[in-house]
Each structure stands twice: as C-alpha cells, then as structure tokens.
C-alpha cells in the first residue's frame, strides 16, 4: 500500500492532496499511521507495531484496517496498484 507521492501530511494530522485541492483532518492514530506509511513501513510492520503498543486483538485491527483502507481509497489518497 502506498500513499500518493504528492500528498502532503503534517504532524498534527492535516492532509492535503495538491492534485484535487481536497484536505482532511486525521486523528492522532491515523496521523501516526500515515507518517509510517510515508516513511516506507509496510502494512504488516505497522500492524505489528500497533498490536505491541495498544490493547487490540488482531481480528479487530484487521477489520479497522480494512475500513481505513476504504476511507483512504475514497479520499483518493492511495496509489493505484
């Protein structure tokens, strides 16, 4: 999974898509994940990190992760693979 290269993200969770002019506010968790994705971490690595740091089971995380991907796709922020 890759976030589009030109997407601008800030540490406080503001996301700007310069191709469309769309902007979004991400919560703290989403912001951390976005920074990790932009830093080159794979989805497996990010999920492992979340499982270690937070009280969440793998099934719940997978469900939430799928929802998150759908939201990113709808927001036109993901590279088409």
């Amino acid at each position: 999974m890759m976030i589009k290269k030109n997407i601008a993200t800030s540490e406080n969770g503001f996301i700007f898509n310069p191709a469309t002019g769309d902007s979004f506010s991400a919560n703290a968790m989403a912001s951390v994940i976005l920074q990790a994705i932009k830093g080159g971490a794979s989805s497996t690595e990010i999920k492992l990190d979340i499982l270690q740091k937070y009280e969440v089971n793998a099934e719940q995380l997978d469900r939430d992760w799928e929802d998150w991907i759908i939201q990113l796709k709808e927001a036109n922020l993901l590279e088409i693979e």
């Binding site: 601008a8 002019g21 902007s23």
Partner: protein, 350 residues
C-alpha cells in the same frame, strides 16, 4: 530605487471589485508586485461607483471610458485623449464585453504608441459561449451539450433534450442553475433582457469546479499555467475562496488550447471534473480571471509577464508554482469623501 519599469504607464479596466469582481484590482496588485511600485496605473472605468477608482494606493488616476455599445470610434477617441494626458505605455482590458472593441482598435493604439497583448477577433470568437460546443467538438475537447435559445419554444426543446437541472447562461455574463421549467423561464427572461440573444441552455455537469488561469504567447505556447480549485462559491457562482492545485491533465488541457488557438494574452478555463474524472470545459474566458493575484502569489505573475511580452522582452515560460496556496476574498468598506465621487461623476476623471 527606481526599477527597470520606472515611468511605465499602464491602463487597466475591470475596477469593479464587488461581489462579482472584475479582474482589474488583482491585475494591478500583480503588476505592482512584479514590476515595482513606481509604475503608473491608470484606471479605466465605466461607472463612478467602481471601488478601484478610489483605491489610490493602487490606482494613480482613473478616467471614465464609454460603454462598449457606444462603439469603437468613441472608445478610440477617449483613449486618444487619455493617452495625450498620461502617455500610456499599454492597456490591459479585463472585461469580456469590451474586448471586441479593444481588439478592433489595436492598429490605432499601435499608431499612437500604446501597446496591448490581445487575441485576434477570430480567436476571441471561437471560444465564445455561443461557439464553445462546436469548438470543443472540432478540437477533441469535452464541452457540455447546449442549446441556443431565442424563444420559449427553444427552451422547451432544450429541457426535453438536456433534462433538468439546466444551466441557463447569458451571452456575456451570469448563469443560473434551473431545476424546473418555471425557474428556467425566469432565468431566460432575465438573461435575455440583460444581455440579449442568444441565451444558452447548457447541460448540467455535477462535479468539482476547477479553474485554470493561463497566459498564451500568441505562438501556440503558454507562458504560464496555474490551476485553482474553488473552495467557497457565492450564490453567483463566483469563487470566494480557492486553492492552487497541481494536476498534469489540467496543464495538458491548457497547452492543447494554446496550441490549437495560438492564444495571445491571459485566459481562463472554467472546468468541471465529474465523478468519472472526466474534465468538461464550461467556459473559456478571454482575459485574466479575478483571482489572478493567486497565480502571482503561487509563483507565476501572469500580468507582469504579459506586460514584459508586450514590451518585446523575451519571457521564459514558468515551469512550476506552489500548490496549496489559498485565496480568501473579503469585503471592505472603503470610505471616501463625496467630493471625490462628485469629481468622478461630473468630470469622468479622478
């Protein structure tokens, strides 16, 4: 310290900085920023209440000029008088409705030493609202289907063919989205009374509004291209806030337009991107848009580049601009003395 452009005297129209603003004030702001504060700006106004007349930090002096309906002789005479007073270096007209007359008198302006940087009448005509669909079909550009309306019967036919909602547009300005026949008839009568025939009924395209401001060099290239997405739209459909965006398909579209028209001067593509990512050209305006200062703020000063090109300078094409720059328009109550208004109203000069 004086700049290279010290003493340059530029006439600018479009000083009506109201809720449906002319581009004049934005153009002047960009000129001062790009060429220095020691250029002289001569405002050319049609009415005494155009706010720019009284913005003395931007406009050095204003002269009233005749409405386009007065004809080219009246315009040429008035501009010759203004040139005698001010020694104009060049003129930048900024209204669609006045461009025809200004283009017609370009030879006379040249003969008295006043420069312009304008498209030809042929170029002006091909992108006219009335000809836009044909222009698009001929050049592989997506333009919403339309009907030219000369009667209520034409409107009925348009509604049956294009279905509601319909965009009912005036020949030069104004557009209303009509969701039923009653609203369409009202818009038709209003626009016919204001701007004359034909009124245009255009297919409504749902999507995201994007505008592109560009500057054609008259040789098939663009010297600059900046795209802006509207973020806040007034009830007149005008952008009250917008953000610069960067999208190669928009650049390609503008470059295609410049190539097929050899467009000379500023222009604006009004576009709609639908859910399938298709771009439709809603209008092509033959002048700088009112938001042109945003282009300058984002790194491409089109009005300053236009002046340089008109003066014969070689201007390298801009290759980039900053995306994510916003403009947010605002209202401002400007206070002037009645004596100034009286001077402008009575003598047509201030």
């Amino acid at each position: 310290m004086a700049t290279n452009y010290f003493g340059l005297c530029i006439g600018v129209t479009g000083l009506n900085a109201n809720d449906n603003p002319g581009p004049g004030i934005a153009v002047i702001r960009a000129l001062k920023e790009g060429l220095g504060n020691d250029i002289r700006i001569i405002g050319l106004s049609y009415e005494s209440l155009e706010p720019g007349i009284y913005m003395h930090d931007l406009v050095d002096k204003t002269y009233q000029i005749p409405y386009p309906t007065a004809g080219i002789a009246a315009l040429a005479d008035r501009l010759a008088y203004i040139h005698d007073q001010e020694n104009l270096s060049m003129i930048i007209p900024n209204f669609d409705a006045e461009l025809h007359n200004f283009i017609k008198i370009v030879p006379e302006l040249i003969s008295i030493g006043v420069k312009t940087f304008l498209p030809s009448l042929n170029e002006l005509g091909m992108r006219d609202k009335v000809n836009l669909l044909e222009f698009g079909n001929k050049n592989g550009l997506q333009v919403p289907a339309d009907h030219k309306l000369f009667s209520l019967a034409d409107l009925q036919n348009a509604a049956e063919d294009l279905k509601f909602p319909l965009v009912i547009k005036g020949k030069f300005y104004d557009a209303y989205v009509a969701f039923n026949m009653e609203a369409a008839k009202k818009a038709f009568h209003q626009l016919e009374a204001t701007w004359g025939y034909p009124v245009i009924a255009q297919q409504y395209i749902k999507g995201t509004e994007i505008n592109v401001a560009a500057l054609g060099d008259g040789k098939g290239n663009n010297t600059g291209i900046v795209a802006m997405r509207k973020l806040y739209i007034t009830d007149k459909g005008k952008a009250w806030a917008g953000v610069t965006v960067e999208d190669e398909t928009l650049t390609e579209l503008a470059n295609h337009f410049a190539k097929i028209t050899n467009w000379k001067g500023g222009y604006e593509l009004e576009l709609m991107r639908n859910a399938d990512n298709e771009l439709f050209i809603l209008e092509i305006n033959p002048r700088f848009p009112a938001w042109i200062y945003l282009a300058a703020a984002a790194g491409q000063n089109h009005p300053a580049a236009l002046v340089k090109m008109a003066m014969g300078e070689e201007v390298a094409a801009f290759t980039e601009y900053q995306s994510g720059k916003l403009f947010i328009r605002h209202s401002w109550d400007q206070i002037i003395d009645i004596a100034e208004f009286q001077q402008m109203s009575a003598f047509g000069e201030l």
